[in-house]
């Protein structure tokens, strides 16, 4: 339970020691796994050490520490794959996992020789001086207590504060049938703050937070955590006096940063390789075609240092990269893992991700955002006679086949005569991916990435991601309030 793992860890050595295996056993296991007519096989070792602390009603009530570990073996043959996962890692269980996984490949062939060689990841995006797991427990508890005090001091109408701090370190090692052995040590920190405000019997909540693959001190530098406290508290307070959202079709302006979740839902998922190979995405077969207004250039970039969505390599060992998805409105690329890239005759883009050793990899986003345009953000707002300004969102969801997506504003205002006026509550926006993007008529010069709290769910697997957006204007979206 104590952490043998922080400081400098060499993943290969770590796993070989921990599970008492050697390079020869790895070579044999992988060789045996591709013995039939398999295209490739990989073995994924994972050791995840995490802790979390939560505060409510003015005290830190919870402190949890968790260790999970295990290995996943996968064999791919054509468009089929077999997977076996175990948390009881021995030579024997790996061998059984290999047999189970390869049962999917057709009979025939004989064991292949694989000789493994260690490769260093191409990037070094989050080497930390002090690992956040090693910071004194008292400092972590102290931080949560300070957040509580700050929120209550901010306004006497703040009646409850919930704050939680989650820290993890994941050590992974990927060994594949090309002989590549690549490891990574992935830190992750996330702080979240929820405030409840109450006035005249009306209650509202507001939530904010941030983090990344960063040191603990990141949370307090530049008073970051205090700015999240203010954001959460102000959101709750503002919602106390918010009016019901309008209902119907109108011009919508999205603010910079987290509203980039629109891209995540409206285009990101629809451009994942698996859906496009199976031709079940609203974007299937549209490479080279116009899918958005020419003001839009959208990229997925897993190489931004210290970001929540960044990785030195994906969970298949492919170095992450910067993939242009949409360039000036034209569809340019998909997000690929190895299997889907091979079947589509494309290159893997470093987007093969899995929640844990107990899940199979699939194409996923990293940090997805739209590049800045040329408009001043004030001009974007000023250009709208009547509409909605959405500054912050909760979660979103998409049906990738029909392209319909929806997301809910947690902070939104009416725009009246080119000015942001009254706060509104309960605004849900719904649209159709390609259609909404073609209605983007202005793009601000103020691209911002989110604060580092996003988690994306697909097929029951959650992975950390980032989003970003400059201020944009969308001419005509359906706003789902109650005021018809």
């Amino acid at each position: 339970m104590s952490n043998p793992t922080t400081g400098s860890v060499e993943p290969r050595r770590f796993f070989l020691d921990r599970f008492s295996i050697d390079d020869h056993a790895l070579e044999e296991t992988i060789g045996q796994a591709i013995a039939r007519r398999a295209d490739f096989a990989d073995l994924y070792f994972e050791f995840r050490s995490s802790e979390s602390f939560s505060l409510e009603e003015g005290i830190v009530k919870k402190a949890n520490k968790n260790i999970s570990q295990g290995a996943g073996m996968r064999v791919v043959a054509g468009d089929k794959f077999g997977c076996a996962h175990t948390d009881d890692v021995t030579i024997d269980t790996l061998r059984i996992a290999g047999e189970t996984a390869r049962a999917i490949a057709e009979a025939g062939g004989s064991p292949s020789a694989v000789s493994v060689h260690v490769t260093a990841p191409r990037h070094d995006l989050y080497s930390l001086g002090d690992h956040p797991l090693d910071v004194a427990l008292a400092d972590k508890i102290d931080l949560l207590n300070k957040i509580d005090i700050a929120a209550r001091r901010h306004d006497s109408r703040i009646t409850n504060v919930m704050a939680s701090l989650g820290i993890e370190q994941k050590i992974v090692l990927i060994v594949n049938s090309s002989g590549v052995v690549v490891g990574d040590v992935q830190p992750l920190v996330r702080l979240s703050v929820t405030c409840i405000a109450e006035e005249n019997g009306v209650r509202q909540q507001g939530t904010s937070g941030g983090g990344g693959r960063v040191e603990f001190s990141f949370l307090t530098e530049d008073d970051r955590c205090l700015s999240w406290v203010r954001t959460a508290a102000d959101q709750a307070l503002r919602n106390l006096g918010a009016i019901d959202a309008p209902a119907g079709n109108m011009t919508v302006v999205l603010g910079p940063g987290w509203p980039g979740v629109l891209l995540h839902e409206a285009v990101g998922h629809g451009l994942e390789g698996d859906f496009n190979r199976k031709q079940t995405s609203a974007f299937s077969g549209k490479l080279g075609q116009r899918v958005a207004s020419e003001l839009c250039t959208v990229v997925d970039d897993g190489t931004i240092p210290n970001r929540r969505g960044s990785l030195n390599c994906d969970d298949e060992g492919t170095p992450t990269g910067r993939t242009v998805l949409i360039e000036k409105g034209i569809l340019r690329g998909y997000l690929q893992d190895k299997m889907n890239a091979r079947l589509m005759g494309m290159e893997p883009t470093g987007n093969g991700r899995r929640e844990s050793f107990g899940h199979a990899p699939m194409p996923r986003m990293t940090n997805t955002f739209m590049l800045s345009g040329e408009s001043q953000p004030e001009d974007v707002v000023r250009s709208v006679a009547n509409g909605l300004y959405a500054a912050n969102f909760g979660g979103g969801q998409v049906d990738i086949t029909s392209g319909k997506f929806v997301f809910s504003a947690t902070e939104a205002y009416l725009i009246e005569d080119g000015r942001i006026t009254r706060p509104v509550k309960g605004a849900t926006l719904i649209g159709n991916g390609p259609d909404s993007l073609s209605r983007i008529s202005m793009v601000g010069n103020d691209l911002a990435l989110d604060e580092g709290i996003g988690t994306c769910g697909k097929d029951g697997q959650s992975v950390p991601v980032g989003v970003g957006l400059p201020t944009i204007r969308i001419d005509g979206m359906t706003v789902g309030g109650t005021q018809a």
């Binding site: 339970m1 830190v60 009530k61 919870k62 402190a63 949890n64 520490k65 968790n66 260790i67 999970s68 295990g70 468009d79 089929k80 794959f81 077999g82 997977c83 076996a84 996962h85 175990t86 948390d87 009881d88 189970t100 996984a101 049962a103 427990l137 008292a138 508890i141 409850n160 919930m162 409840i196 209650r203 909540q205 079709n249 199976k278 031709q279 079940t280 107990g358 979660g395 979103g396 969801q397 049906d399 086949t401 029909s402 319909k404 929806v406 997301f407 809910s408 509550k425 309960g426 605004a427 849900t428 719904i430 159709n432 359906t478 706003v479 789902g480 309030g481 109650t482 005021q483 018809a484």
Partner: protein, 450 residues
């Protein structure tokens, strides 16, 4: 301690925690095996098998507590786990309401609720694959407009849970679950629609037939073709059973003791009030044989039971675990849910809206102009205020008939008003999930569209 039983491991940890100075402690150990297979366009696409074990120890140092959990079952690691748990408990704040339930409250017997199907362990990937193939084929063959498929998928797992606490409770049980689904894609005039259907049960023999699952999935995808927006209006809205179940899910969140003591529920302070017409009764029942949400004891070793939440329109009970019950001066309702890595929280078991007497067809026929909702999207529900606004699709009802498919709209209201405005409850309750409901008619909601 790999060779030892879950009970032995639990008792070793309780002893170790006590030795390190814990005043109270509890341990949960879970282990499970799972199989999932997928078939797409008639070919096997994936076969996945896994096994996993995990345990969690909660230690109390007086009124402070902490949890450590691990997948490493070696004796050394368990000993360290106990030591760390107690050390961590000492640094958290004292909370006067914390602690294990009183020994008088814990279950004295572990009833057999028929939750385990031994045939799931024997099932081969080949047989499961065949079911997937049949389900998908039934969808693909049902209509030429079904042009593509995300496949048929089967998943099953068996689980064993052991829970022991220093208040004297120790119990174990086994359970299983299985599901079969199909996801066809329908195409018309260049636009695609995808839909699904599934069956999920404790026992293999209780699953719906693969062919019926495939046919139902295809019918659902086909009926979405050619959908359009409707103009913004305030109209009656009919929720199909699965969508009505999502409303029951929002009620579940709001009657949970955890949300109530945090001030995060729109049903706070409403106990004893009439919230809905007499046709509305919602029950939580944790002891139903074979049901997906059943368990013989809850996450704190208390017996599960039947709790009326709303009876004939009146809010009768909230759902509690021990902690939230103590905070609010009440008693646990046996609704503690415990995962290995976190302290107990409140969760419904089998929560359902009782069936009414009106057939779903009669409900549709009673509407001159309105919306029939078959899908909801997004997270636009505010648990604190009950404000509700979600993306929706379904069908337009005109003069009592379903006319054309509708999509890219939202429906909005407030859950308190929606409860009050329930006008009819269907007779078609099917306990196909742990939270379920029959068809429900709400007199009016705002539909936003073109």
């Amino acid at each position: 301690m790999s060779g030892q039983s879950l009970e032995e491991i639990a008792s070793f940890l309780l002893d170790a925690a006590r030795r390190h100075g814990a005043t109270e402690a509890d341990v949960v150990v879970v282990e499970g095996d799972s199989l999932s297979v997928g078939v797409r366009l008639g070919e096997v696409e994936k076969v996945q098998r896994s096994n996993a074990r995990h345990l969690g120890l909660r230690a109390f140092a007086g009124k402070s507590s902490a949890i450590t959990s691990s997948a490493d079952f070696s004796r050394d690691s368990l000993a360290r786990l106990a030591e760390e748990s107690v050390a961590l408990a000492r640094i958290t704040a004292a909370d006067e309401f914390s602690g294990l339930p009183d020994p008088s409250e814990v279950a004295t017997a572990v009833p057999d609720l028929d939750l385990y199907d031994p045939s799931i362990r024997e099932l081969t990937a080949e047989i499961a694959t065949e079911w997937c193939r049949e389900a998908e084929a039934a969808a693909l063959q049902s209509d030429p407009r079904i042009t593509n498929s995300e496949g048929g998928e089967f998943a099953a797992g068996t689980h064993r849970v052991a829970y022991a606490a220093s208040n004297g409770f120790a119990g174990t049980y086994q359970s299983s679950s299985c599901s079969l689904s199909a996801v066809p894609v329908a195409t018309q005039n260049g636009s695609m629609e995808r839909d699904y259907w599934y069956s999920a049960r404790r026992r293999l023999s209780d699953l719906d037939s693969p062919a019926s699952i495939g046919a139902r999935a295809a019918e659902r995808a086909l009926r979405r073709l050619g959908s359009r927006q409707v103009p913004t209006a305030t109209v009656p809205v009919v929720f199909d059973p699965d969508m009505a179940a999502s409303l029951v899910g929002h009620i579940a969140g709001a009657v949970s003791g955890g949300a109530l003591y945090r001030g995060m529920s729109f049903l706070q302070g409403k106990l004893g009030q009439t919230l809905a017409p007499e046709i509305v009764s919602i029950v939580d029942a944790g002891d139903l044989p074979r049901a997906l949400g059943s368990k013989p004891f809850d996450g704190e070793g208390l017996p599960t039971r039947r709790t009326p939440v709303i009876a004939r329109g009146v809010l009768q009970n909230y759902l509690f675990d021990t902690y939230s019950a103590r905070k609010l001066g009440s008693r646990s309702t046996g609704n503690a849910a415990r995962s290995v890595a976190d302290s107990p929280g409140v969760s419904p078991t089998n929560l359902y809206l009782e069936a009414g007497s009106t057939s779903p067809n009669d409900i549709i026929r009673s509407i001159s102009s309105g919306l029939f909702v078959t899908e909801l999207m997004g997270f636009g529900v505010n648990p604190v205020t009950g404000d509700y606004s979600r993306g929706a699709s379904g069908h337009w009802i005109e003069n009592g008939e379903i006319t054309f498919p509708v999509s890219e709209i939202t429906i909005a209201g407030n859950l308190l008003e929606m409860l009050r405005d329930i006008q009819a409850v269907g007779s078609d309750l099917d306990m196909r999930r742990s939270i379920c409901a029959p068809t429900v008619l709400i007199a009016k909601m705002t539909v936003a569209g073109s």
